[in-house]
Symmetry: C2
Subunit: 515 residues, 2 copies
């Protein structure tokens, strides 16, 4: 099934051209191949199935692939490694697009002294971690909870981690991008040939483009500069457990000022009891199939894992003396509050590695939550942003908790605290082998988006199926920002070949496909 408007004859000619450009062994067209690029957690793999995939090995091959796409007016869907399950994995918004798989591009250039790296899109967190370890480079990664994806792809989609460098997009410093017409641009100081400042100074001169290539379809990023955290002398902090759902409110209000003032420099994530249970156990251990997780099941889960209704870890990074002072300060802020448990965490250079995302080690075990229901599991991400205020957080929890119950889903959410806002990260778990449940997921998701929109909240990223829906909630001046994005899209990509539909941005020729 080719993309709409692409005839089988044109498609075949394009494939020949792609084979000549990247090598026949790197053009994938079989049914199995195509399914490997489907959305692995989707209820219906067909709705976003690509028509083929091609895997160039170099910037020049990417440029040639883009030129071919223009010649045949064939849409490409660039992926770095395609591991962002929960948001669509490697699958394109537009069915029949050809996946431009950049996972063979794996160059790593670390500048150990300045604490930066230049990575190609195929470099995974494990690749970079291994590279740093093998070369004894004292720099730490910031990794997402599931770290099997691409360093560059994660940053470009605004993924987050747990250290002070956890806002990955904010640490991007300089890109190399193949534009939709095949031109090659370097952003920031990289716009000067041979600049030593490409990875050192972000904005460059004039308008700066790095954040324009995030969550966008304005080009294909082939190199990404990223700042890495110098290995700290110590990591110290506190692990908190809180007993009641209502504790969320005051906990937010105690943490938010410290986060805003920079006393806490990473983003604490306040998550509920299902975070642990879903990774380490199966639902059937706690409740009969089809029955809701009632209070006694929640009680049992909390008892087994010795956790609160909510848990949160706070960490400080740096010299021992400063961290000790900071941890004392944070402890004092909780004095007199009804904390269920508070444990100190302390790691100092020379101690055995913690092996957790908090210390920049990539992991994948949270993926195990796909087994929660026992069938072929999956999840979809839902991540609205709201102000960092306790009453609003509590209401957000209460409203969405009621919706989870209404739709018969298990509440699985956290509130990640940025400097001035909360991201309410929901992983809606489901069993793809349960048709009844799968029938509810779409309506549940739409109900969540509608609920947020009523409160004038919206998602900062979303699943490929809902990119138009979420874009439609950005409605100031009759969707002025979308108009602006699409004017730029048309200027840069007149043939509409790069990622049509990404973030709700469609090229002129396919704008009628908006849903």
């Amino acid at each position: 099934m080719t993309a709409p408007g692409v005839s089988p004859r044109v498609f075949a000619r394009a494939l020949s051209a792609f084979r000549a450009a990247v090598g026949a062994q790197h053009v994938f067209t079989s049914e199995d191949d195509r399914l490997a690029y489907a959305d692995p957690y989707s209820p219906d793999e067909q709705s976003h199935l690509p028509s083929a995939a091609i895997a160039p090995a170099s910037v020049e091959e990417v440029r040639e692939a883009v030129r071919i796409a223009n010649r045949y007016r064939i849409p490409l869907w660039p992926i770095s490694r395609g591991k962002n399950y929960g948001y669509g994995g490697p699958a394109p918004v537009l069915r029949g697009s050809i996946v431009l798989d950049l996972s063979r591009m794996k160059k790593i250039e670390v500048d150990a002294e300045n604490g930066t790296v230049l990575v190609e899109p195929g470099v995974g967190f494990f690749d970079l971690y291994d590279h740093l370890q093998a070369n004894n480079i004292p720099l730490w990664l910031s990794v997402p909870g599931n770290s099997w994806g691409s360093v560059a792809g994660n940053a470009l989609d605004r993924g987050v981690g747990y250290t002070p460098y956890g806002d990955h997009a904010a640490r991007i410093c300089g890109l190399e991008v193949v534009l939709p017409d095949g031109d090659l641009v370097r952003t920031g100081m990289g716009a000067m040939d041979g600049s030593p400042n490409w990875q050192l100074y972000r904005p460059g001169y004039g308008p700066s483009w790095d954040s324009m290539f995030c969550q966008s379809n304005f080009g294909v990023v082939t190199k990404l500069g990223l700042w890495l955290m110098p290995a700290p002398e110590s990591v110290m902090g506190l692990d908190f457990e809180f007993d009641k759902p209502e504790d969320l409110g005051w906990v937010v209000d105690v943490l938010a000022p410290m986060r805003r003032e920079g006393i806490i420099q990473q983003s604490p994530s306040i998550g509920n009891w299902l975070r642990a249970a879903a990774v380490l156990t199966r639902r059937e251990e706690w409740v009969e199939p089809g029955r809701p997780l009632n209070d006694s099941a929640i009680e049992a889960i909390r008892k087994r894992f010795e956790i609160g209704w909510w848990s949160v870890s706070v960490r400080c990074y740096g010299p021992v003396e400063i961290n000790e002072a900071t941890v004392r300060f944070i402890k004092r802020a909780f004095r007199g509050r009804s904390v269920l448990a508070m444990n100190e965490a302390r790691w100092v250079q020379g101690d055995p590695p913690e092996g957790s995302p908090v210390t920049g080690t990539p992991i994948t075990f949270p993926l195990a939550n796909a087994n929660w229901f026992g069938g072929r599991g999956g999840h979809i991400g839902y991540s609205p942003v709201l102000p960092s205020k306790g009453d609003l957080a509590l209401r957000q929890f209460q409203r969405t908790y009621a919706l989870y119950q209404q739709y018969g889903m298990d509440y699985h959410a956290s509130f990640a605290m940025g400097e001035r806002c909360l991201t309410n990260v929901n992983q809606v778990l489901y069993d793809r082998d349960d048709p009844d449940m799968m029938g509810r997921v779409d309506q549940f998701f739409r109900a969540l988006v509608a609920d947020a929109s009523e409160n004038r909240y919206s998602e900062y990223r979303t699943h490929i199926e809902y990119m138009d829906l979420v874009a439609s909630t950005y409605d100031f001046n009759r969707h002025a920002l979308l108009r602006l994005n699409e004017r730029v899209k048309d200027a840069l990509d007149p043939n509409g070949v790069i990622a049509p539909g990404k973030s709700g941005i469609w090229p002129a020729s396919r704008r009628r496909r908006r849903r």
Copy 2:
């Protein structure tokens, strides 16, 4: 003198339309008025003289002005307050442009709890400071050394200050922008009508635009969201003096790791002896007119002000206990080094206000350095970026110092330390009444840019006279970034009405004007 291609008849009709739109009393066309919008520090006020200025009072008036500009194909040069002397003040790149003076737009909306403000372009640092004081709002500004300018304008041109919020462009959170066709867009979360997150979460959904409107001519910013620092419990730090020019190298190498690791969170600025002398005295006190400032003059200056060849202040912001630990750490880093003087600075809530930019108080006295030579003074800014490494900083100093001497100018420079780079901020002082000196300024400036370019450094911002020159140094792939900028420029501004030539970006119709 109208802009090239604008006939006197069309100009007159446009003025009528502008008068109808903003009121006749807010359209300025007399010779005196026009000179008030000239570059006040320019050797030749005529070369960038506007043909008129108009001062709308509201977003709707700005939109109407932009529509009129499109109707008559008349270039507008938007300014916020036009106080950025050293880079051209209120004057346009293209002679005969009409200045769009936004200084009447002075709305301020502070969100005290979240630590943000939404300002219109006419709001100056003093306005905002007064507003915070009058309303007892415990938020601090970050102000530039000369603080008479616009809060929004300074951030959009990537101005800097001295607190942890000193990278002003990095603290922008959400814009309202009149596009070149008169459309109105809000960026980030403001793209959702009524979003409470507009000033709280920066990127929004999809490509993010805030940094695209910095140093650019893609639109007219009419509102700017900015994060403000919660008033810290204390400000502590160290003031250092260093004896020899060569000390610059090791000082950079001692400070840079602490800056990179986030132990120092503001940008220390290592400046030479002329910083103090030029503000507080006149050159004639130290040396006969026309003679170079020799070693004995430098010696005398340093003795009077009790300063080193280089001086630098480092400051920490936050709780007393944490700051004390941090200052101890920083002191230890200098142990065993030949420091000429090191004094501790300590301010705690309740102490009398320091009244300096270090504590967020706007000041203007550094402007007094315009009197250094005694005539009608002025300066031009020269600010290349280089890696944060001692050997490179020292060589940068040595090369440019030699150029200052070669061109008979007085070395006046600092190295401001960002997280991973140095900005070598030069204020080249001159006497506009000295034709011999003024004859050298242009060649000197070009020599500085050429010297930087040989080392593959370039400026992060520049004077209106040199925007093309500096843009030309960004030469990767035959100026690919400029091509990209101009493609977007043409898409958004087909009639080329907004700030032609800004940052070297010209609309298609005027691209032949590039120098």
